[in-house]
Structure formats: structure tokens, C-alpha cells
Symmetry: C2
DNA sequence: CAGTATCCCCGAGGATACTG
DNA sequence: CAGTATCCTCGGGGATACTG
């Protein structure tokens, strides 16, 4: 996607544009910034969690979306899924090294949003 | 949303959960990570752009979504809209100070995604 | 407990036409 | 040029029921 700073000047003119529709970065960005992606990644950023913990902790997420989000993030190599052969079943989700690299960038972002959200939405109801 | 690192341990147990459904952070996060939010913000992060530049530069965005995204980001105080009273009309969009604070966190994130996207998607078609 | 399977709906979002 | 207005589609995503 060539978002590197030196290349961000690309927009003006009729040239191809700095954000081509079909590029790997857009795909990964969509996975990460999907409706529940960031929340799941952040939930796992501190410590591993079981399915049920995530289900309850990430308020509002449905089982379907939790499963789908986890599978996508696992497919991208951000999340590690570990099944324990016990009864009742126990499955733990944790971040991979790659996932930790990613959340290193997500955490400051969410921290800033968290710090500023109230003021940002202050005058409006929205 | 209490994403602050010290508080991220909240998930286990039956407690309220670290990601309550109704909190300002979730709203702002949704705005920023909306389908086109990050792309618009990054496009403006280097320099101001006119409507048409954004329309062409952010490949695949429709006029409706560009207008909607810009209005939301303007409403959140991330984007400044400046109309020039000339014919033909000219409107410039730029980041506010708050918008620049935000993109300071977005840029490293997208930089990392950009650097790793190909490898992340490597084995699959997806 | 940790999911899948199904059904279904609503609204995000695209296409097109039009306007100041 | 910089948008709005309108219509319409499609799939994201929720609810529920079920299973190993």
C-alpha cells in the first residue's frame, strides 16, 4: 500500500493513487480493524484467555462473530489457539509473536482514544 | 473503556468485562476504524487534500462514503474543512491538531502492516 | 465448555442521477 | 468542482438451537 511516510505525497494528480484497492495492506487492515478485531487483540494483549472469558469480556460480541474474528486472526498468524484434551473442553487463545508486534502499535492507539474519547464526543450525543 | 495497561487484566471471572458495550472509546474507535476512516486520515496525514484528490486517491471509495467519513471525522474534530468562495468551488480538507495526534499513532501501525502484509497473507489466497 | 449450523434482518455501503 | 438525493443490494452480523 506504500503508506511509508516518504511516499504519502502520492494523492494529487491523476496518478494511480496511494491507496490501491487491491493490495495486501488493505486486506490486513480490514482484518485488524474489523468490527471486533481490535477488541479481541487487545483483550489477548495482556494475557491468554479462554473462549468463554472472551465471550463475556468483550461485551456485545456474538458467538458467531467471536469465532469468525478468532479464526481470521489465527489465519493471519496473530493469534494462537491451544486445545486441551480434557473434559470439559478447554481452549486457550493467546497472541503469537507477530500478534504482539501488532498490539504494540494498537495499545498506544487505544490508550490515546481512551484518554480523549470523552472530550471528542463531548458536545454531541451521536 | 479502560484499556490502560494496568487494567487490562479485567476479563476473567464474571465481572463486568473490560470492554463495556456503551463507552465513548468504542464509539470513537468505530469512527476511526470504520471502513474508510483510517485511509482518509492517513491520506490527510501528510498534507491537505481537495475532495477530488481524495476521491481519486482512495481507490474504491464512493462519493457517499467519502462525504460520510469526512463528516464524521470532522464532527470528531479530527478533520478541518475549509471552503474557498471561488468558482469553481474549492474545498480543502486537512487534519486538526487532534487529528495529527491521532495519526501519530496510526502511521506506525500502518507502517508495520504495510511492511508485513505480504508475509502475513503469504500462504493463503483469502 | 467450546464451539457449529441455520435462519434472518437490517443497515452499511455502492451506483446513478442530479444540483449550486 | 463538490457535493446531495435516491434507490437498491448484499453480506455483515445477531439470535437461536443444537452437538462433541
Amino acid at each position: 500500500m506504500t503508506v511509508r511516510n516518504e511516499q504519502l505525497q502520492g494523492i494529487p494528480g491523476t496518478t494511480a493513487g496511494i491507496f490501491p484497492a487491491a493490495c495486501p495492506s488493505r486486506t490486513v487492515l480490514d482484518h485488524v480493524t474489523s468490527k471486533w478485531g481490535v477488541l479481541v487483540l487487545l483483550a489477548l494483549s495482556r494475557e491468554p484467555h479462554r473462549w468463554g472469558e472472551l465471550r463475556r469480556g468483550i461485551e456485545g460480541i456474538s458467538e458467531k462473530m467471536l469465532a469468525q474474528t478468532l479464526r481470521t486472526l489465527e489465519g493471519d498468524g496473530f493469534v494462537h489457539r491451544e486445545v486441551q484434551a480434557v473434559i470439559p473442553p478447554r481452549v486457550d487463545y493467546s497472541l503469537t509473536a507477530r500478534g504482539r508486534e501488532l498490539t504494540e502499535h494498537l495499545l498506544p492507539l487505544m490508550g490515546w482514544i481512551d484518554d480523549n474519547a470523552a472530550e471528542i464526543l463531548a458536545p454531541r450525543v451521536d
